[in-house]
Symmetry: C2
């Protein structure tokens, strides 16, 4: 049986000496899907890296408008394939076709690509900075090597390695991409890569702008992220895989941006419970259950005050967890991973209130699970009790008083998000001002009265946070143009002759709309 082709060096071709092959599994039936995909070895990786160099070189003389045009054509191509993408995406991930895939994730994906196109066209993202007196000019530019993108299993479209946020950011910043498909949805990724490849050809971009591998052995992955020809890596996935890649990339001095694990603490203050216990419980359940709990911003840790109100809140949430059906998980590692995480939580004092076991079903299922633990127990084992369970699982921590709530906040690891629910008329203000400064340092995005799921693609978004949520607290994976800066190098031009400067740094504003910082003032004007 012929394996599905990889996209390397400008053509769809059979993998060279694949070291194995695999099929995606339909999570609803636990049965393999018909297509078989190669596990690529060193030969494919080496060829892809060499071929990407051709794109790197060609891109030096390709205008940003062509890149923007590519991204827009690609978005159009995706829309033209929407039905095929939704169908295969659903088969490979069990995520519902509607509204999730068709009406939410696909438009988000094309919207992201179009925002990236606008960023590439307007060019404000590159922070052109000009000191006219010193005649020193700088801006962010491409990395000089391809960006390797490892996509996660939980967003087959919006974070797809060949179409998602990292892809869009890397391309818009002027880098070619080598996509490593998530092995959960290789077929979906192939459809995206086809659409991208066609767009690259139609827009006159190098044909090695986008390349695709489906799977590589772990040791080859380490070589890929640390290879001398590699520019940088964007990785979204598990902490264990992320940390292995990080170690290899760090040792080689190659930038790597990781979005790993996060339990996304939610602090519910007494006044919020007095005022709207049921509302908050409903919002918590809805956020926990979104995508069968498989969101990186899923609220897995809830801190409530000890006592009647906290107990009432737990009871209300328990009812919602127990009464609602469990969703189908993305794969076999779903139930086993959740079970392992719950075991760690239990071993360190957490008590299951509802759920706690995998469900007998045709698909991969785990019961919605709510656990509780005392503040004292949490503070005795803060590391273990922040173990992420990737599903509809939440641990409620009961804090004795504000002082203990502060200690819990201080014991948090780096997270993507942190929420504080408080009384709408200010009754919790005295507690808020004690918790917020601590929580602020622990999270990338701080929310009020709102659950963390739902990451708007906004220029002001931060989908990032301190380690180990990510590998660096200064970058966001979502939000254009900021996300482009991960895949850029700072390029300074000192006394360079005017006609040799890139257009963005010449006296004339190349688009008339590009924002530049000239002698300390942000402006869209030309230099006189």
């Amino acid at each position: 049986m012929l394996l599905q082709p990889v996209l390397i060096a400008g053509e769809w071709r059979q993998a060279q000496n694949p070291v194995g092959d695999f099929a995606a599994v339909n999570p609803t039936t636990k049965l393999p899907l018909p297509d078989r995909f190669p596990v690529s070895g060193r030969a494919d990786v080496e060829l892809a890296l060499q071929a990407a160099q051709e794109a790197v070189v060609a891109l030096r003389s390709i205008p940003s408008d062509a890149i923007a045009h590519f991204l827009e054509l690609f978005a159009d191509n995706i829309e033209a394939r929407a039905e095929a993408l939704v169908e295969l995406g659903n088969l490979e991930t069990a995520l519902p076709p509607d509204p999730r895939l068709r009406s939410v994730e696909l438009p988000r994906t094309t919207d992201q690509l179009r925002q990236a196109a606008t960023a590439a066209r307007t060019r404000s993202w590159c922070h052109a900075t000009i000191d006219t007196q010193a005649n020193t000019r700088s801006k962010y530019g491409p990395l000089g090597g391809p960006v390797i993108v490892f996509g996660p299993n939980n967003f087959p479209f919006a974070f797809n390695s060949a179409a998602g946020g990292d892809f869009a950011a890397a391309i818009a910043a002027g880098n070619p991409v080598i996509a490593k498909a998530n092995t959960g949805h290789p077929g979906t990724t192939r459809l995206f890569a086809e659409a991208a490849f066609e767009a690259a050809q139609a827009s006159g971009l190098p044909v090695t702008m986008v390349q695709l591998l489906y799977r590589i052995p772990p040791e080859v992955g380490l070589e890929l992220v640390s290879h001398p020809l590699t520019g940088a890596t964007g990785f979204t996935g598990s902490k264990s895989a992320g940390l292995r890649l990080k170690e290899a990339a760090d040792k080689a001095g190659k930038p790597i941006y990781l979005e790993m694990s996060s339990v996304n603490p939610v602090f519910v203050m007494p006044g919020a419970l007095d005022e709207r216990l049921a509302v908050v419980a409903g919002e918590l359940y809805a956020s926990c259950a979104l995508g069968a709990g498989q969101f990186c911003t899923n609220p897995g840790l809830v801190i409530v005050p000890e006592g009647e109100a906290g107990e009432g809140f737990l009871a209300e949430v328990r009812v919602l967890f127990a009464a609602n059906p469990a969703g189908t998980l993305l794969g076999a590692q779903g139930p086993t991973g959740i079970a392992a995480a719950i075991e760690v939580l239990q071993q360190h004092g957490a008590e299951i209130i509802t759920g706690g076991q995998a469900l007998e079903a045709s698909g991969y299922c785990f019961a919605n699970t709510l656990l509780r633990v005392s503040g004292d127990s949490f503070l005795a084992h803060p590391g273990a009790l922040q173990t992420e369970a990737f599903g509809t699982v939440s641990l409620m921590v009961f804090a004795r008083d504000t002082e203990q709530m502060k200690e819990i906040a201080s014991a948090l690891e780096g997270n993507l998000t942190g929420c504080i629910y408080s009384h709408s008329q200010g009754r919790d203000e005295a507690i808020y001002v004690q918790i917020e400064p601590i929580l602020r340092q622990k999270v990338g995005r701080l929310l009020n009265d709102k659950m963390p799921t739902g990451v708007a693609v906004s220029p002001a978004m931060n989908h990032g946070g301190p380690y180990p949520a990510t590998g660096h607290p200064g970058f966001t994976a979502v939000g254009i143009p900021a996300s482009l800066l991960r895949f850029a190098a700072l390029h300074c031009y000192d006394n360079v002759r005017p006609h040799r400067l890139p257009p963005e740094l010449q006296n004339k504003n190349p688009t008339g709309k590009m924002w530049r910082s000239i002698d300390g003032e942000w402006t869209q004007k030309d230099i006189e």
Copy 2:
């Protein structure tokens, strides 16, 4: 004999259980200076980190204006101590009092601190970004832990761990600093820390805003940069020390910014030699000899065309190297380090044209050294032939033709700078357009017709570059406000109630002058 006190936890105190002691050595006489300084062990490090936490917490409610005031007072205090600093700086480093220390480096240091103060006061550095529709707001903020600064030996003022660029940037971004003095100039560093400590007290900043250690064993250094309480590290120094610290920090997920080694290639094109051979030779020598060649941007690699013009250039440069006296080096490791580097170069085909040996002198001296190598030899051993010799040492590479010049450019490692000298009337344009795109990706700062030493403190400066010149290609160590971003985390506020937002993200512009990106437009206006 009482050791010099460390500055920890808000007081000048004896080190706790020091693991040794040392004195600075006068490089002009090779004799130790009278003061003895402690080598701190774990106890001092742990105490300093704990004490820094108090400053981290206090800083959460201290306005930026107070930080700006501190930086300005500190600059004033430095000026008040100028004579003492110049005297001791000269004794410890042998750098000339005039013009170097008094008229160049000291004003640069105070100017940098005042620029940092302005940045802290105006706050545009924090890139406040507001999406009014989504009510999502973000900006850069402090790290939540102190910044550890390791200063280099070659700039006792401007890159001093307790007063230089990293210090100024870390403080202006709202972080306390733990300075690790360069062991070459501990007394100078103590003077700076005294001035800083007084300024902190006078401006109402936490007394643990600045702390000072003189020396720590290597293994304690690794613990310091990877400690859970540490925010980030700024290191300027040798590649070997930098890479050891990087490994430890990376493993702990702690940001570390390194400025390590760089040979700063200079490409001299045929037209430039035809037109102004002697001028270029003079500029090259002057740049090579600045600070006895102990500049991170010292031009250590010069690529010239094979043939008569290239040979003539070599001869001209040789005369300058041979005729001018060698400067006094910073320490005993100067001559031995240079000798070791030259040996590596020779072992890989480089030939000494002049110099090549340490000089008998009262101080640490090494003859100005010029070497040559063929393009073929360079391409056979590109790694070894980019070994940095930290002194007035330059290796001239003879390229057969433009093609070989391109290959040499392609074989370069990451560097801080890269220069191209070309004919003023455009005769080298055809070569320039082939070399520049390659060189661009290898360096942080690209220059035309200008040597790389002299790093202006400009907002458009990039004193950074691809690995192994630094640890990350997206950051600069010089240039305000950009250098502050190294010591900052991205803080997003999602649906946060207006009065709870930091002033920089409230509707009203807090300074009236702060630049903010509001709905995609940079503006100094309030939000209506």
